[in-house]
Amino acid sequence: SQKIEQNSEALNIQEGKTATLTCNYTNYSPAYLQWYRQDPGRGPVFLLLIRENEKEKRKERLKVTFDTTLKQSLFHITASQPADSATYLCALSRNSGYSTLTFGKGTMLLVSP
């Protein structure tokens, strides 16, 4: 069956360090992958999209990689700040006529000062 796996344990890091979150998937061939941020009590907010033919995408302090051979995406936040503390969700495209997104369970990131 299709699975998207993200670390269920929270990631605790020190301010200024680089946070790296992992998204692994099985039995998928996604055309693209997206990352979202979700704060408590709020809806998810889009961060980045990366396509299957792209290895890496950057946006300010964020970087996403997409390895379709390993079936893995890595999400990096450099120079992390306490304000980056949130849950980060990866989402894979799923083509069934019209595409939609299937989400992982998310990883909570806690950045301490």
Partner: protein
């Protein structure tokens, strides 16, 4: 201006009741969705509408009936509520191109508690 707005934000009701959640988007998008996020924070697609037409209907009990009166609105009606329906329901919209979902814009969620 709120891009995707849902009402109500909180809903507490008894088992067996019928309730509705409304969603409106002012982004001009052609596709709207309902997602359910349960207590384990798992965000799962329920329905998707493109230009008022139902295009995705996941394995959802038929007590759940979506309705899209126009492409800016997608409502969710739930009959005979059960305890397991307690969750946060998120509405989202996107501008689909060539079948791709694109970036999703989510509402703030409607927290439903069934007692």
């Amino acid at each position: 201006d709120t891009a995707v707005s849902q009402t109500p934000k909180y809903l507490v009701t008894q088992m067996g009741n019928d309730k509705s959640i409304k969603c409106e988007q002012n982004l001009g998008h052609d596709t709207m969705y309902w997602y359910k996020q349960d207590s384990k924070k798992f965000l799962k697609i329920m329905f998707s509408y493109n230009n008022k037409e139902l295009i995705i209907n996941e394995t959802v009990p038929n007590r759940f009936s979506p309705k899209s009166p126009d492409k800016a609105h997608l409502n969710l009606h739930i009959n005979s509520l059960e305890l397991g329906d307690s969750a946060v329901y998120f509405c989202a919209s996107s501008q689909s191109q060539q079948g791709e979902a694109g970036e999703l814009f989510f509402g703030e969620g409607s927290r439903l508690t069934v007692l």
